[in-house]
């Protein structure tokens, strides 16, 4: 189980927190302020390609 490990008393405890943020930068900044080990995920919404262009791209891929 990735989320938990056993400690000496046999209890489940949560391991070292590592956060990845995708979306609002506001939360990235707020978590970084607390000293959280955090990285921003480089993500943008997928670009919507018009059908005719998508067809050309698909044929090139093939």
């Amino acid at each position: 189980m990735v989320c938990c490990a056993g400690n000496e008393r046999g209890e489940k405890v949560i391991g070292k927190l590592r956060v990845f943020n995708v979306g609002a930068d506001w939360f990235y900044e707020e978590m970084k302020m607390q000293g959280i080990d955090i990285k921003q995920v480089g993500w943008t919404p997928p670009v919507e390609v018009p059908e005719d262009i998508a067809g050309i791209l698909a044929s090139l891929k093939e």
């Binding site: 070292k16 990845f20 930068d25 506001w26 990235y28 978590m31 302020m33 921003q40 993500w43 919404p45």
Partner: protein, 486 residues
């Protein structure tokens, strides 16, 4: 009046920044209304709701600026202003600090607790979440409006892989004293919290902290987790994750009765408390104390440790004049709005709300002549603008506006501190008029970034009655309302 649109292709900015730009645009002289949003299906509806008819060929992923202004010049200048702001804010997170979604697996080690915090528009959540689960990463999904079927699939997949899915619509989690989303700085201790109510978790953790107790972790499971469609999957998993040290608190707003029973069955053999907000209940099942109020939950553990209960406020001395009849409650926290209604109901005060205790008390379009509690963080109030936790000005303007009415007897509201919340939660409140009895509580600790003492001092300066908890504020409001003659 002229309406102008402008598309910004190939750019992405998060919604909080874009909504701030929208708000700044609307403050410009000659601008009647404005919207700046990434084009998604929901945002197309939002544009429509605020009166903009975008061209039908708008594609997803572009940023759209819409402005209605008194003339062409004002509209053009507003659009240029928005473009400048978009350019300015594009590089908030440095490129070297960002990592591609595909390579998160390489960014943590065995034994770590990796979490992907997701606050993208809801239509992208499933794909992002799925890819993260494939890489062995737990999820905290802040985004809301994700279909229940998707939520269930993600949670089942997570469980299969030994991962926990917190959310969707999870506002608060605290792990090792660090807050994800909206969270207060609270003492580390041996109390575990699991909750489907974000502001419920905040209020509970703050009251425990302020009474000298500490939190090991608080896991937000998302507002739908304890509904029948999900069956408490993440709640039960979170209880297991927290282990069996100390007392465990589970807090939920409107939990499904069957799910509630299952969860209580799971925790009743250990010291535990189940808070089902809004329920009129006070019982003990095994070792589980079951209540409908956060204050009662905290008092239970204080009593069990031989400590004094949260200090009760005195009966209100304030008598409102005969013309003043109505209560106005404006909340940033949905769960605190819900709990307030329960307190008012128990005091015999009939109250209507956009997040009502029952359908018979749903807020009608015209609510001038009735008692109301408004959840200003609900979808209808945050369309095209930041959540009031992040930008409380619109909520505070509502309070100020209602304070000027001659028939308002009580103003009840919450003040939320902590990470994720605005630095000045009182922005715009200074114009509050004298007349109604203003009552509030501060959900915050002395360690929160906003500075508890300064916030308290400003509330005192404004003449607002500050109670020790949201529950006490609602109780106090109910006592004042009992003295009102209709």
């Amino acid at each position: 009046m002229v309406v102008k649109y402008h598309e910004v292709k190939g750019r992405y900015l998060d919604s909080i920044i874009l909504m701030s730009i929208s708000r700044d645009l609307e403050k410009r002289s000659g601008v009647k209304k404005a919207g700046v949003m990434v084009m998604t299906k929901e945002n197309r509806d939002t544009f429509h709701d605020i009166g903009f008819r975008l061209p039908s060929e708008t594609g997803n992923s572009s940023i759209w600026i819409a402005v209605e202004a008194e003339d062409d010049k004002v509209a053009d200048e507003a659009i240029h202003f928005a473009l400048d702001e978009i350019d300015k804010d594009q590089t908030m997170v440095k490129a070297e600090e960002s990592v591609p979604l595909e390579s998160l697996r390489n960014q943590f080690q065995k034994g770590d607790f990796p979490v992907l915090f997701i606050s993208t528009p809801e239509e992208y959540v499933e794909e992002i979440a799925d890819r993260a689960l494939d890489q062995g990463i737990n999820l905290h999904i802040f985004s809301s409006n994700v279909p229940l079927t998707t939520e269930k699939q993600l949670k089942q997949k997570g469980m299969k892989n030994g991962l926990i899915v917190m959310g969707p619509d999870a506002g608060t989690t605290i792990i090792h004293g660090k807050g994800l989303g909206f969270a207060n700085k609270v003492r580390f201790g041996d109390i575990g919290i699991v909750g489907s109510s974000g502001t419920g978790i905040q209020e509970l953790s703050v009251l425990l902290h302020n009474e000298g107790l500490g939190i090991s972790s608080a896991i937000g499971v998302g507002s739908n987790d304890m509904k029948s469609g999900i069956g408490g999957l993440s709640t039960l998993q979170a209880i297991a994750v927290l282990g069996d040290m100390g007392t465990i608190f589970v807090i939920a707003k409107k939990p499904d009765p069957e799910v509630r029973r299952t969860v209580i069955d799971r925790i009743k053999s250990r010291p535990s408390v189940f808070v089902s907000l809004g329920d009129s209940v006070d019982e003990t099942i095994g070792h589980t104390y079951h209540t409908g109020y956060i204050d009662d939950a905290v008092n239970h553990i204080l009593r069990s440790q031989g400590k004094e209960e949260i200090k009760k406020p005195p009966m209100p001395a304030a008598i409102v004049s005969g013309r003043r009849k109505w209560l106005r409650g404006f909340f940033v926290g949905g769960s605190l709005c819900y709990q307030a209604q329960a307190f008012l109901k128990s005091g015999g005060i009939e109250v209507f709300s956009n997040a009502p205790l029952d359908n018979a008390h749903a807020l009608p379009a015209d609510w001038e002549n009735m008692n109301v509690c408004v959840d200003t963080g609900a979808e209808e109030y945050v369309k095209g603008r930041p959540h009031p936790m992040i930008d409380p000005k619109a909520r505070n303007e509502m309070i100020v506006k209602e304070s000027a009415r001659p028939d308002v007897a009580v103003l009840l509201f919450d003040v939320m501190l902590g990470y994720g919340s605005a630095m000045n939660p009182l922005e715009g409140l200074s114009g509050i008029a004298e007349g109604p009895v203003p009552v509030t509580s501060i959900c915050g600790t002395a360690e929160d970034k906003q500075g508890y003492a300064g916030i308290r001092k400003e509330l005192d300066f404004l003449g607002i009655n500050v109670m020790a908890s949201a529950g006490q504020a609602a109780w106090y409001a109910a006592q004042v309302m009992k003295g009102v003659k209709k």
